[in-house]
């Protein structure tokens, strides 16, 4: 029973980790919190619904479509809501936060209008297939989600540490001006970052659709807030912290539901935010700098 819950928690947590990676990449490079990330994730999930349930196409096409659409959304987000504010005199550091909140409620209500408020089923051919190992039941979907998530994390880590574009991204995250002096095209790096982060959100959307078989316009908000909780837990802009934090939150939530009061499941994330910010603003895995939390 405990082991089964642990597997459920890790599945959920691996999706959280993917969402949180999107947040943390954008924060690392731009120093801003993309409040629209949750809604981009939600759009990804709806693309999945459209492709698999409405059009009846196979799952892999859903992935490609979701990546394409959310990447485009990321590009538009950067052009419309972020770039106009950058380097402008007298713009408060809260401005990007507020304008991405604007994008988030625009997207949420847009999809509310298009798809309606209710839950949409997410069909896939192997949703019910399960394996019995001893007394433990594992669904194939869970394994698939876990494998995809881990693969994504590995690819992202490799890309960040080994490729030229990834190195440019890390240099920009370290110090934008220095990176620019060193010949990094920071404008392009920033756009790339937002696009990749958004595409990660889109993939996570499909994974959630597969895991819970239901998609609705409000799911972006709660996922967005959880993603925030995770990057605060793992340390802002910290890639490994986002992965670990995501898994941790997934397991914690599953345990609350299994052994506590399921109504408070969503509160776990928010209480985490408050406590971590107050007790250890640099996050569980962050470096201890006096500037953290400032």
């Amino acid at each position: 029973m405990l082991l089964e819950q642990l597997i459920n928690g890790l599945t959920l947590g691996s999706i959280y980790a993917i969402v949180a990676l999107g947040f943390t990449l954008v924060f690392g490079v731009l120093g801003i919190i993309n409040m629209a990330h949750g809604e981009i994730f939600m759009i990804g999930a709806f693309i999945g619904v459209l492709v698999t349930s409405v059009l009846g196409l196979p799952l892999w096409i859903a992935f490609i479509a979701a990546i394409a659409v959310t990447a485009l959304l990321g590009y538009m987000l950067e052009r419309i809501a972020l770039r106009p504010l950058r380097g402008k005199q007298g713009v408060s550091h809260l401005a990007p936060l507020i304008s991405t909140i604007g994008v988030s409620i625009l997207l949420e209500n847009l999809s509310h209008h298009i798809f309606g408020a209710g839950n949409h089923p997410f069909r896939n051919s192997f949703a019910e297939i399960q394996i019995q190992i001893g007394s433990i039941t594992i669904y194939i979907v869970q394994i698939l989600i876990f494998v995809i998530s881990i693969a994504l994390m590995l690819i992202l880590s490799y890309w960040l540490s080994k490729t030229k574009a990834g190195k440019a991204l890390r240099a920009t995250a370290e110090n934008l001006e220095t990176a620019s002096l060193l010949g990094v095209n920071t404008k392009r790096t920033i756009t790339t970052t937002v696009i990749i982060a958004s595409a990660l959100g889109g993939i996570a959307g499909i994974l959630v659709g597969m895991a819970f078989n239901s998609v609705n316009p409000q799911m972006g908000l709660s996922m967005g807030l959880k993603g925030l909780a995770i990057i605060i837990l793992g340390g802002m802009g910290n890639v490994k912290g986002a992965m670990a934090g995501g898994l941790l939150l997934g397991v914690a939530e599953t345990m609350i539901v299994a052994y506590g009061d399921s109504g408070y499941r969503d509160a776990v994330a928010f209480i985490t935010i408050i406590f971590v910010l107050l007790l250890r603003p640099q996050g569980l895995f962050g470096k201890n700098t006096s500037e953290a939390g400032r």
Binding site: I32, I33, I80, A81, P84, L85, G90, V91, S92, H93, L94, A95, P96, L97, I98, S99, I101, G102, V103, S104, I105, L106, L107, E108, N109, L110, H113, L221, L225, L228, A229, I232, D261, G263, Y264, D266, A267, A269, F270, I271, I273, I274, L277, L278, P281, G293, R294
Partner: protein, 326 residues
């Protein structure tokens, strides 16, 4: 004559404008010391539930309930405001957003007290209670040629207008004083303010608590104007709405929040089409404002311009007046 003009529905909208202005001031006052709190929907909820529960279960008079609701929200403001001092900018915004969500989750789950997601109905209605009082004193609506429900809503609105005038007066005076200057100094440069002998801790907690108190006050009034509250009334969307009041209207001056709250309440009512797309339009407004006018519609220079306009108009009026005499 008066009886035909006073549509209870319009009176109700006007009352909402008044409540929203209080909410607008609540986010403005916290921002005036440089802190962005997205938790005001949560404080509003605390005020609303406190007052509603006290008046329902203990049959306290509404005005005591409202004051206690505001005070409890204010106490939560201190409790959150002190640890939140360590945070600033986006971190504070997120922590307060998290606080608001926690409050909402508690309202949903603490069913024995809050009735959960269903919400609390049968909250004593401010207008009807006032009506009972005045009729007990011998007043009859017919004396003014009004129907009963017109008087009910009119009294609520009148009371709220008086409250608003007092609040605006209070905060304008505070702004022009030593306290207001300390808030502004902290907002502009915290280190320099500290070097000038300003106790940062005290003033930041003070402005945060004032914001919480006001939001709780507005929430308590809301509960007694609506006579029904549910956790959804104090969720994320409410927090965004309050943010819009200040971002759209202007976050530098108190008139910005007042204008923003008024405009944003009338807009969806005036244009039904807009009402349906309300939140989408909110989203677009936030994006456009940040790109083109981050300080909001009303800012210091616009206010100065308006003042000069009024002055010069007076002068020309005066001028034509003397000409006539000649």
């Amino acid at each position: 004559m008066l009886g035909e003009l006073l549509n209870p529905y319009h009176l109700q909208i006007a009352s909402f404008i008044m409540i929203n202005i209080i909410l607008g001031i609540s986010i403005y006052i916290t921002l005036s010391s440089g802190q962005l709190s997205l938790g005001n929907a949560g404080f509003m909820g605390i005020g609303a539930y406190t007052s509603a529960l006290l008046t329902i279960h203990f049959e306290l008079p509404i005005f005591i309930g409202v004051i206690l609701g505001a005070l409890v929200a204010g106490i939560f403001g201190i409790l959150i405001g002190i640890p939140a001092l360590r945070l600033s900018g986006v971190y504070l915004a997120i922590a307060t957003l998290g606080f608001g969500e926690v409050i909402r989750v508690i309202f949903v789950n603490w069913e024995s007290v809050t009735q959960g997601a269903v919400g609390l109905s049968g909250v004593p209605h401010l207008g009807r209670e006032l009506f009972k009082t005045v009729t007990a004193m011998g007043f009859e609506p017919e004396m003014l040629g009004l129907r009963n429900n017109q008087v009910v809503y009119l009294m609520v609105l009148t009371l709220l207008v008086v409250i608003n005038i007092l609040l605006i007066w209070f905060f304008i005076r505070q702004n022009k004083s030593r306290v207001g200057r300390a808030f502004a100094a902290i907002k502009m440069d915290e280190k320099a303010a500290e070097s000038m002998g300003i106790n940062i801790t005290y003033y930041k907690v003070l402005s945060f608590t004032q914001g919480a108190l006001l939001a709780g006050f507005a929430g308590a009034l809301y509960a007694h104007v609506m006579a029904y509250i549910s956790p959804a009334d104090f969720a994320y969307h409410r927090a965004i709405e309050i943010l819009i009041f200040s971002v759209f209207g202007g976050s530098e001056v108190i008139w910005g929040a007042i204008f923003g709250a008024t405009f944003m309440t009338i807009l969806p009512e005036a244009l039904r089409v807009i009402s349906e797309y309300r939140y989408m339009i909110y989203g677009v407004i936030l994006i456009l404002m940040m790109a083109f006018r981050p300080q909001g519609i009303i800012d210091v220079s616009l206010l100065k311009w308006i003042k000069n306009m009024i002055k010069s108009r007076r002068r020309t009026d005066h001028g034509t007046g003397t000409k006539k005499h000649n």
